[in-house]
């Protein structure tokens, strides 16, 4: 295979500690960013924002941040939404209802439970009629979705918005997911360099399979408790001077990423 070159035009980030990519940059530079406010997801119309489940607000928040940096038109922008667990709060509520009184299941809760609810809300809010997808791959969801978005960008020669997010779990399900805090990130990836390029990513599937790159020491406690936070080693390179990181992509396969900031 030839290496895959992608050009990052926008970066979104939200966790209880870091409200956006600038906060990550500040943290890595030694500053102490203020705690993040709840995801505002300003691209959702006010009534949709009230109705939207937490998983949608988180995904739309980080997607909106990346979109704003790029200046792209969302109406024609393909998107890939990844989440290892989907909306765990809704799964918990639905399963509790089904165990108690199945006929009382709420229709709204049901249509919010589909894995592509964030993609649906996003495309409706932005008038996007481009391809949208929703994917998962457990602890490897970020790396697998990065490859999915990158192949779409290159094979179809179009920019693709990648979002990877998981909310905090609750209820009895939490013991299984062990995902106890929210984390979301987004990358707007283009197949060619442009005036808004922030960095170039060069993706390879190396022949060997070894341990994934650990995050910088400052972020050591930020990568636990949420599978989407597996993106942090890459986000840290984007926030800094670039470099190389390795993320596990499948059982015995890694994704090797070289990050080169735009001049």
């Amino acid at each position: 295979m030839k290496p895959l070159d992608l050009f990052v035009e926008g970066i979104g980030l939200w966790s209880p500690r870091l409200g956006d990519f600038a906060a990550l940059r500040a943290l890595l530079a030694g500053a102490a960013p203020a705690a993040a406010i709840a995801p505002a997801a300003p691209l959702l119309p006010a009534n949709e924002r009230r109705r939207a489940p937490e998983s949608v607000r988180l995904a739309v928040e980080v997607a909106g941040q990346a979109l704003a940096m790029s200046g792209r038109d969302p109406g024609t922008l393909a998107c890939v939404f990844a989440s290892a667990h989907g909306d765990q709060a809704i799964t918990d509520a639905i399963c509790a209802t089904l165990a108690r009184a199945p006929a009382e299941l709420s229709p709204t809760r049901f249509h919010h439970s589909v894995h592509n609810a964030p993609a649906g809300y996003w495309t409706i809010a932005t008038g996007c009629r481009a391809p949208s997808s929703a994917v998962c791959a457990g602890a490897r969801s970020f790396a697998a979705a990065l490859l999915e978005a990158s192949t779409q960008a290159l094979a179809e020669q179009r920019p693709v918005l990648l979002v990877c997010s998981d909310i905090a779990g609750r209820g009895p399900l939490l013991e299984m997911t062990r995902c106890d805090r929210a984390f979301g990130c987004a990358l707007l990836l283009a197949p060619e360099a442009g005036t808004t390029t922030l960095a170039r990513l060069r993706l390879k599937l190396p022949a060997d399979h070894v341990a994934s790159t650990p995050p910088p020491a400052t972020l050591a406690d930020a990568v636990v408790g949420n599978p989407a936070a597996a993106a942090l080693p890459l986000l840290a390179l984007l926030a800094g001077a670039g470099g190389r990181c390795r993320l596990e992509l499948a059982t015995a396969l890694d994704l090797l990423i070289d990050v080169e900031p735009a001049a």
């Binding site: 399963c95 589909v114 932005t126 391809p131």
Partner: protein, 398 residues
Amino acid sequence: MTTPMCPLAVSACTVTSALGRGLAAQHDALRHARSGLRPNDFGSAPRLGWIGRVAGVEAVALPAMPTAWDCRNNRLAWLGLQQDGFLDRVHAARARYGARRVALLLGTSTASIGVTEEAYRRLDTDGRFPADLRRPALHAPDSPSAFAAAALALEGPCLTVSTACSSSAKAFASAARLLELDLADAALVGGVDSLCDNVLFGFNALELISPAACRPFDTARDGISIGEAAGFALLERIDAAPRAPRLLGYGEASDAWHMSSPHPDGHGAELALDAALARAGLAAAQVDYVNLHGTASRQNDAMEAALLTRRFPATTRASSTKGFTGHTLGAAGIVEATIALQAIEHGFVPGNLGAATPDPGCGVQFAWQNETRRVDVALSNSFGFGGNNACLVFGRAP
């Protein structure tokens, strides 16, 4: 501007649904206009509507692997993988290309959530999952691809696509891109969805379940019948299987309209159709058969009938086969892909089962009865919640 894609060989495929195990059972049921639907005998009471249930899933034994993977959804997946010599084809691809060069992309809507439902019905006195169901890999939406990767010892790129009822159709699109960029030499695609309380009561809450067997495109259609299925296909480059039928194109688009209703003008569906035809380098008039999404919901069928009338000539034949299988949700894309492939292989257009009184909005393209005719190009529509549309184009090897 969507440009033509390099066609791929569909070197093997298989399907297991309410119509039976394997391609021959499906073909036989279609030939004899025999539905697989039956009154709902699954899950918690009240048992509503009719379902397309796969017989014998409960008795399936998984291969020698940790019992942590055992659940009804994975049993259905394993049952499906064993039909039509498909496992041998996967093993041969793995041997030929290497485990890291075979990608795995499966679609599902609800994966193994049936196990999570059971755990909530059987919480222990501490409010925890019962000990026998504390198996994290099953309480996750990627369980189909994770299970299949383990069961088949595949090590290539691995992903579960979950865009509701377009999921397994979109797996073909993702696979085509991986092969085009030389990230894999073969891709196992498909999907699996099994009956569970979540979808039976969820669609009931949306008032989308018919009290009887679903009637796609009937004037008096009153909702869907939910089914379950597992289906798989192996995609390779054409030189690896030059005589196999081909994936000629795929198209994907969003409605930007509503979370649980299709766009009434079918705008997203038409964009997906346009993209699929453009990748295949074909005009609509060159399509011989369209397997419609045709769920028997009022809105989907009205939108889709209008789209068909608007875009295709009378020589294009069309039908929904949901009256045979029920709506198999995330597996619908692969089930109907195999029906499209069988239409090409056997020169046979399955009739639109269940419409006693066709909706007057349906055009002359509809095949209300079985038809025998050569099919060189067959198309399959799959539309999902959230306005997620996919369209696949298959063709005969020249």
